[in-house]
Symmetry: C2
Subunit: 127 residues, 2 copies
DNA sequence: TGAGTATATTGACATCCTTCAATATACTTG
DNA sequence: CAAGTATATTGAAGGATGTCAATATACTCA
């Protein structure tokens, strides 16, 4: 009689690769998921797009005027993007000017690309 | 007296680029956001990773064994990934085998990269 | 046909996310 | 300091998302 391991206990044979495991661990998966999550919102994407357009700084009232949400919502998304390190701001008098953190954006892009390539092209080159 | 347009009405001058607008419209932003959203979950990332590893098909029981969530949850995420077109499945007898849709993954990757490059490198080349 | 296994679906619950009105804070200008 | 404007924060409401127990469905084998 064969001892069943915890892994295989309760599963019949015949279909299974009992040693299958993700190459990304839970922590890395969570980190990557957070990276993607901060981008996964139409307002935030549009904000990033506008900030990237005007490499010089952009004041909040312009963003507000160009977006289909109210001022507190714009402020909310700006805060999330700032907490994620993707943008930063600078106060000039009455106005606050936001700008993209290109280094952070580039790092995020690199992380996503690494993962994506590992995902899509590990065993075959093309569909 | 100067007529105020709808755009500039209610805003003072002095800080503003009144003609600022996102290059991505609401629809495209929503689509991109959906693309990112389907990836923005640790379980789904790990599922995609495992499916990409074994290019041959993988049965659900293996996924279930390797993931820290229960069977209905695995099934739920598989359904979302399938609805997004990123994976598909095939029944063989009692078991259902899932596999990556490499073409769809490649297309998604391309869409994200396009946007990302437009975002990060429109006016300057490096941080 | 009936018992058993693999996967899917349903329904409920908790948590997070988005949004906004109301309010607070920061700053300028008179 | 007072009044006015720009932005941030708070608190609440509604919707979306993730999870699981229970159950249903699909299939195999005796």
């Amino acid at each position: 009689m064969i001892e069943l391991t915890e892994q295989t206990k309760g599963r019949t044979a015949g279909c299974c690769n009992p040693d299958l495991a993700p190459r990304i661990g839970p922590d890395e998966a969570q980190q990557l998921s957070d990276d993607l999550g901060i981008l996964a919102n139409p307002i935030r994407l549009q904000i990033l797009d506008m900030l990237a357009q005007r490499d010089g700084h952009v004041c909040v009232c312009d963003l507000e005027a160009a977006l289909p949400v109210k001022q507190p919502t714009v402020s909310h998304h700006l805060r999330l993007l700032r907490a994620a390190g993707l943008i930063d701001c600078e106060r000039r008098g009455l106005w606050v000017y936001y700008f993209v953190q290109r280094a952070a954006l580039a790092a995020l892009r690199a992380r996503l690309l690494d993962r994506f390539d590992a995902l899509g092209y590990s065993t075959e080159q093309h569909a």
